[in-house]
């Protein structure tokens, strides 16, 4: 809005006013007012009531009649006594072409009558009352008059004598709309507090227009952290509070670290049960330190020195070198333990370690399953840890996530013994829900790494935790390429559970 438009808008009321009145109020010309109306109407700020009027203006001849009187008037003015028409016209100074008209109209107006004196025709004054034509000429004057409001006969006469011209004229009345009011309040340019007002001290005399705070605004689209990131951050915070150090491992893994190290027999259904992605490129990975490879081979074949009888088959290095996408993060835990003693990379023990990162399962996508998700993985390594410590560690962790009722169920994992599935009671669903898997790492998986301590470990899927904690119905809305942007935008930044 330019300042004129604003002035016009400010002059509008809910009741329609004429353009002229508005222009006057706003102190602008009516042309300015009309052009402002157009803009305000397009913006939806003003409602216009447009009408067309017919107006009459005098022709130059009409204007001359206004000034000098009509020819018939000029004629009768000189009729102090009866005289011949010729003499009267002569006396009145009427030009030749007006003489006949003057006499005819004087007669028609019943101003004069014809008489005969001494065989000669003379005009005799009867009346000098104002004629309707004269009244009309006066009414129009030098300006204009609404033709529709004038005597119709008079107008016809004026036109027949070419004394007036009729014009069509557009006229407007305008009123303010609700949007116009909002606009006035929102984009207050003149009544807004400006640096200038502050600098000059003019604010002291400035009146600030009250806004309609209920007026609608445009929608702000905030940038947000992803809900799973919020939860992962929360999980990391909880674990750091409990003294866990973050670790990491590669997403492309060898079967060696993912399975063989963890006492999964080769050629065993469990390797398929995890729905592992075997890679066609790279097809094979390298293997770690040959001492470790030899030990793992011996563990599988005969138990080596672990006290185990082993799995009793001929272990294949080729199978161990198959490249996969990690189906769980546990190989990272074993890599870290390898760095503690055997490979001497200085990772501390005793200690607590964790990670939250992506894993891959060759599953079809549905409401509760995705082919990749994030796994929370944690382990504690120390000399005298026992199964009750595992339960205690897990209970403390879940307590911070708001899950206090836990139950442990025996389960089979190739790499842990004893092992427990973790069930949490979901109050709103009113039932027990599996929320994690845990166990103590088997000696067969530790001794090859020169680890003599006990290790308690657990894991769970971050997405599963999110679905339970945030009542998420369809994980596809949240994670992956079909996620719903509006869902993510609308999800509360501080969900109750994370407050």
């Amino acid at each position: 809005m330019n300042p004129n438009e604003r002035r016009i808008l400010e002059s509008l009321t809910e009741k329609a006013q004429s353009a002229e009145a508005i222009a006057q109020k706003a102190g602008v010309s009516s042309n300015t007012a009309y052009s402002a109306f157009a803009t305000l109407e397009v913006a939806g700020y003003a409602k216009l009531d447009k009408a067309e009027r017919v107006i009459a203006r005098l022709t130059p001849e009409g204007l001359a009649y206004l000034k000098q009187g009509t020819p018939e008037r000029r004629l009768i003015i000189v009729l102090k006594q009866p005289m011949s028409p010729e003499a009267a016209a002569e006396n009145a100074g009427l030009p030749n072409e007006q003489r006949l008209i003057a006499i005819q109209w004087a007669k028609r107006n019943n101003w004069v009558k014809m008489a005969t004196t001494a065989g000669k025709t003379v005009l005799e004054l009867v009346s000098d009352a104002e004629s309707p034509l004269e009244a009309a000429i006066k009414a129009i004057g030098t300006g204009e008059a609404d033709a529709e409001k004038m005597d119709k006969e008079a107008v016809r006469l004026l036109r027949s004598r070419n004394l007036t011209q009729l014009f069509a004229k557009k006229e407007a009345a305008a009123a303010i709309t609700p949007a116009g009011k909002t606009a006035l309040m929102q984009a207050e340019e003149t009544a807004a507090l400006t640096p200038e007002l502050l600098r000059t001290g003019a604010w002291k005399t400035t009146k600030f227009r009250p806004y309609d705070v209920g007026a609608s605004t445009t929608h702000a689209l905030p940038g947000k952290k992803h809900v799973l990131q919020m939860l992962a951050d929360e999980v990391r915070t909880i674990l750091i509070q409990m003294g866990f150090k973050e670790m990491n491992g590669p997403m492309v893994e060898s079967a060696f670290w993912n399975f063989d190290m963890m006492f999964f027999p080769q050629n065993h259904p469990n390797r398929d049960m995890m729905d592992t992605f075997y890679l066609s490129k790279p097809r094979e990975t390298g293997l770690p330190d040959s001492k470790l490879v030899e030990r793992v081979k011996a563990v599988h074949e005969s138990g080596w020195t672990t006290g185990s009888k082993g799995l009793g088959y001929s272990w294949s290095e080729t199978e161990a070198a198959r490249a996969i996408l990690r189906p769980h993060t546990t190989p990272a835990s074993y890599r870290y333990m390898a760095h503690m003693a055997l490979l001497g990379k200085g990772v501390e023990k005793p200690g607590k370690y964790f990670m939250v990162n992506r894993v891959f399962r060759n599953e079809s996508i549905d409401r509760t399953h995705l082919p990749e998700f994030q796994q929370i993985e944690g382990f504690v390594i120390d000399k005298d840890l026992n199964f009750r410590h595992l339960m205690g560690q897990i209970a403390e962790f879940y307590k911070h996530l708001g899950i206090t009722k836990l139950r442990f169920k025996p389960v089979f994992n190739p790499y842990t013994e004893p092992s427990a599935e973790i069930f949490g009671f979901h109050p709103s669903l009113n039932r027990w829900i599996e929320i994690g898997n845990s166990g103590m790492f088997r000696p067969e998986t530790l001794k090859p790494l020169d680890i003599g301590e006990n290790v308690i470990a657990w894991g769970l899927a971050l997405e599963r935790a999110a679905m339970i904690l945030f009542d998420i119905d369809d994980i596809r809305d949240v994670m992956g390429n079909e996620c719903k942007l509006e869902w993510l935008r609308e999800f509360p930044s501080a969900p109750a559970i994370l407050r």
Binding site: G223, M251, G303, N362, E363, P371, P410
Partner: protein, 547 residues
Amino acid sequence: MVSIELSAQALKKRLGLSPAKLEEALFTLGMELEGGDEESMKIDIAGAGNRIDTVSFEGLCRVLEGYLGKRAGCEPPKTKPSGVEIRVAEHMLKVRPYIGSMVIRGAHLSDEDIKALMNWQEKVHATFGRDRKRLAIGFYKLAEMKPPIDYRLEEAGKFMFVPLGSDQEMSGLEILERHETGRKYASLFPEKRLLPVLKDAAGRYLSIPGIINSNDVGNIAPGKHDLFIDCTGTDLVMISQLLASIAQDFADRGCVIETVNVIYPDRTLAMPDLKPAKMTLDVSYANKLLGLRLTPKKAADLLGRMLYNVKVDGKKLEVEVPAFRNDVFHAVDLIDDIARAYGYDNMKPEYPPTLSIGSLRPETRLKSKLAEIMVGLGYQQVLSYILSRKDAQTRAMDAGAGGDFVEFSGARAAGADCCRRTILPGLLEILFHNKDARFPQRVFEVGETIVPDAKAETRAVDKLHLAAVLSDAKAGFADIKAAIEALAEQLQIKIEIKQAQLPWYIHGRAAEVHSELFTGHLGEMKPNVLVNFGLEMPTVALELEFR
């Protein structure tokens, strides 16, 4: 997960447990009542320890009866020689090397028993048998055959018998090509011309082991039978455990188990071998691992309930592990069974005493920082898939075909065949699925890409990327440039932005960006790339790879 379906009535009759009690007992042992009705109960047994002996009705009841205190320990069945011999041809060692066998005398089989036996057989084949590759089992009427039995290869086109469930004699080759079961498992023996057979002394063909039995010898009708059992495969340990499990099941039903001599070129094995393995368990080790204070007597009782025969010897336990236990390798497995019998619910959680100082990796802190800055710039964080399509990574981006990717095949999620090297295609797919969401759409992801690397131990390395897109009618190069400049300012690093030509950006509206922390690119997406991703809104993008 291994689920078995058992008759609800038979379970109730045998154990006398209400469904709720049954569910509780199963939970405590690590199993799960998945569902059930009047007719049958579906039980997930996987958590029990991946045990081959719990697949059968008899085996499962045995475990439950032990846990409930209705039996303690498990006496192995007494056996005597049956006199039956199997002669293994030397060439079998290269084809399907192992065969186990036994004879069961006096098996009363009802119609239902036979149905249950067949279900059990299929379940074992599908799970432990790895679709019969690892092992497969067959039942025969001993009365119909004449030992000794030969286990050998024969020319597929030359031998004939009537396969189970058929009335027509077929050659081995015909069975593989025309019989339903034959076709299904033909891949067990890729060398189709030569097939393994079991053949008796009278020249009768008992079966093509692993594939199908003869209808004459293998079709078992309800009634009382002496059964001959074979179990062939590649894993002798599991074959032995499976035979032991069957032997225990039938012995529990009152049958007599007799051994069969399997004569290999270099040795003779009397099967089944039901001798329990002996293990010694130090009770203090159990207490140390479980955090309990069990007396040797108490520990022995708990093991007894888990069907071990136990002798207490001071602080040590002499434990006999039944021959059907395929899941006991180490003392920790006994300790696990002690814990199950003790009941996890009866163990008190205790916070570990380990002291340690927590910390985050610098990479995680960087990722958080990046996310924080992008959120501040009004961008919504998303998590797209690392699993991608080569087509989306290359052709759709106008970047030509090919390239060096981590690849796989056979993904169940439609189309996925590689790991992403760039995040942008994933973000464009997200935009495609959100065309009805409000604009402007500002979206970013901080995440890993995976790149083949011959020098790495796993032949691939993970790279940290940041990618962002802004999609809006008025989106322009300046917007995304402003974003990257703000990012650099927040990270307090210098960046160098150079005009560049990149396949997916409009010519002349693209740049490379370099800094000590990352290299990357930014620009206005080319119209044809937007069209490739089904987009109708101008989009600008950036992607950075961190060192």
